[in-house]
């Protein structure tokens, strides 16, 4: 997998942003301090320029990554975990349990996501915890669906029956025999969930529904708009954050593709890793 060019680039991008988020804040200036002239373009003193309040954009971009990625990771972990537990339970137990859980999943799925998020976020006190709760509440149903479908198909496979005939207990069949088969699916679900959590979080904060005093990628963009970045032509106030989001998302997408191919051998067979089935050459007798 590491041999795959896309995997290497994706991994480098994602790990790069993660290390920036973890270590970067130790090396940059206070992102909230008023350090220089407002809306100064990039220079030797301020690599990415300054905001309308004279804050260092470079420091804000680096520090903003920490909060955004932390909340996104927690949300992704929670949504995939809740989705996997509920989906696997529904599929393995079947019957009434399955019907009720599937109904709940479908109800959550038909609710319009973004408006719901906006409404919930507007009612709860702003902050990273609210953000995490809102995104987790609206994010888990897709994963429940995916895992339910996977477990339902695995459950009817003969190797489960074979393990039963050998005398394995139910919990051991689920944990030892079934779960490793879900690893690739859970991995690619987690990547998708990260992407969703970053996007939705930044979107909400851009709309002003987050904690405006915190420094995150979303509030960076909110303040850039608030300071009329486009009118004044101060592109440096929003481009670094935007590019960061795009590059992180790109890295995740690349990893997601590779994992998808691992989870779905049919994709791998015709994927970018090698030429697909070639048409049989036909020799014409009549020239």
């Amino acid at each position: 997998m590491i041999a795959d060019r896309r995997a290497r680039l994706g991994l480098a991008l994602v790990l790069g942003f993660v290390s920036v988020a973890l270590l970067g804040p130790l090396f940059v200036a206070d992102p909230s301090a008023y350090l220089g002239p407002p809306l100064a373009p990039p220079s030797g003193d301020f690599w990415f320029g300054t905001t309308g309040q004279g804050q260092d954009v470079f420091a804000q971009t680096v520090v903003g990554a920490r909060s955004t990625l932390l909340v996104a990771t927690i949300v992704a972990g929670l949504t995939v975990f809740i989705g996997a537990v509920l989906g696997a339970t529904a599929a393995y137990l079947g019957g009434v349990v399955d019907a009720l859980l599937s109904l709940a999943v479908n109800v959550f799925l038909v609710m319009p996501g973004l408006p719901l998020i906006v409404v919930i976020a507007a009612f709860l006190p702003p902050g990273p915890v609210t953000m995490g709760v809102v995104l987790t509440l609206t994010g888990w149903p897709w994963h429940a669906r995916v895992v339910r479908a996977q477990v339902a198909s695995l459950r009817s496979r003969d190797f489960v029956a074979a393990a039963q005939v050998s005398g394995e207990s139910t919990w051991r069949i689920v944990v030892v025999e079934l779960l490793p088969n879900l690893a690739a699916v859970l991995g690619s679900s987690f990547i998708g969930a990260l992407l969703y959590a970053v996007g939705a979080q930044v979107g909400l904060e851009f709309l002003g529904l987050g904690d405006l005093n915190a420094v995150t990628w979303g509030t960076n963009l909110y303040w850039a708009t608030n300071d009329s970045a486009l009118l004044t032509g101060s592109w440096w106030t929003f481009v670094p954050t935007g590019a960061g989001i795009a590059a992180f998302g790109f890295g995740l997408t690349l990893l997601g593709f590779v994992l998808d191919e691992r989870a779905n051998p049919r994709l791998a067979a015709r994927g970018a890793t090698g030429p697909g089935p070639q048409p049989t050459p036909v020799e014409r007798a009549d020239g």
């Binding site: 003969d158 029956a161 050998s166 005398g167 394995e168």
Partner: protein
């Protein structure tokens, strides 16, 4: 012959469709037969005749709705009247009855090397401890013709051929030292060239002691080759049962005649079959003989009244109104 397994009045039903169009599929109805110690019995019938279902009920993967399955032992006797499936009695049943699946690719977990299922079967039934398990797995694989066993144990299912995978399944089943091995179409997913080798394995399974085999198949040729007795199923009911030679070479029931004729039809494919085409009616079956709608000789009585199993010789019985006891 002392019986090992007796099946009495076995009935299995499945719900199909959702409310309000929920129907009941009758996969097996009033099925009774027995398997003697050291005997190979073949359950034959077309797709949907309920033969796999019966095998899975005996292997305790599926519950039954009615009837009784009893395993007779040298000392103890285990009866499955389809109560709770946990505990020591259940483990003893699992040790005594093993199942070999039709599709060797689906019955092996793709994420584990093939030594894993064999090792688990040995460990679960106390036939190996952590120190000896690798040795025992290698020996079990070599016993079914996978040499060297230690190397094969570390391979993954996708690295093996279909025949090799089926040998692994057989090794897993034999690992518990069972009294009864149920083989559900063990050769139908394999190349014709290696079917004989696998079938020969079953005769050696039987030759190795008092072990019995219940062979589930639609292939009359393999039934004739290895089975001592044959049970012919149609729409989940026993149509004819008796010694393999008698049933397969001189079938009495019109359905058994149809099966035998279809199997030997390689010569003239245009010759008419002795019955109409069609599928067994397992949802809402009528009161009469299940085969009546397809039977060329069906009478009004066949459509109205279910025939009883009639003995035509001491160990040969037929379920048909047209057959007179001798």
């Amino acid at each position: 012959m002392t019986p090992l397994l007796t099946v009495e009045g076995l009935g299995v039903e499945f719900p199909v469709g959702n409310w309000p169009r929920r129907r009941t599929l009758r996969a097996s109805f009033d099925v009774s037969f027995s398997v003697g110690r050291g005997e190979i019995v073949a359950l034959v019938g077309e797709s949907g005749s309920g033969k796999s279902t019966i095998g899975r009920v005996i292997a305790r993967i599926l519950p039954a709705k009615a009837g009784r399955v009893t395993l007779h032992g040298p000392g103890e006797r285990d009866t499955d009247s389809f109560g709770p499936r946990a505990g020591e009695a259940s483990m003893r049943w699992r040790q005594r009855v093993q199942l070999i699946f039709q599709d060797p690719a689906a019955s092996l977990n793709p994420v584990f090397p093939v030594g894993h299922p064999v090792a688990r079967a040995l460990r679960l039934h106390g036939r190996a401890d952590p120190k000896t398990v690798d040795e025992r797995v290698a020996a079990a694989l070599e016993a079914v013709g996978l040499h060297p066993g230690a190397t094969f144990a570390t391979r993954y299912p996708h690295q093996l051929s279909g025949g090799q995978r089926q040998r692994v399944s057989i090794a897993r089943a034999l690992a518990t030292d069972p009294d009864l091995v149920i083989a559900d179409e063990p050769t139908s997913m394999l190349d014709v060239s290696i079917r004989m080798d696998i079938l020969r394995l079953f005769t050696t399974i039987r030759a190795s002691g008092t072990r019995s085999v219940l062979l589930i198949t639609h292939d009359l040729a393999s039934a004739r080759l290895v089975a001592d007795r044959v049970v012919v199923l149609y729409a989940g009911e026993v149509m004819e049962l008796g010694p393999a030679r008698a049933v397969l070479d001189a079938p009495r029931h019109p359905y058994a005649q149809l099966l035998a004729a279809a199997a030997t039809r390689s010569g003239d494919l245009r010759a008419p079959l002795p019955a109409a085409e069609g599928a067994p009616k397992v949802i809402d079956p009528g009161p009469g003989c299940p085969f009546a709608p397809r039977c060329a000789q069906a009478t009004d009585r066949c459509r109205a009244e279910r025939p009883a199993l009639t003995a035509v010789s001491p160990d040969h019985a037929v379920r048909c109104h047209l057959v007179r006891p001798e």
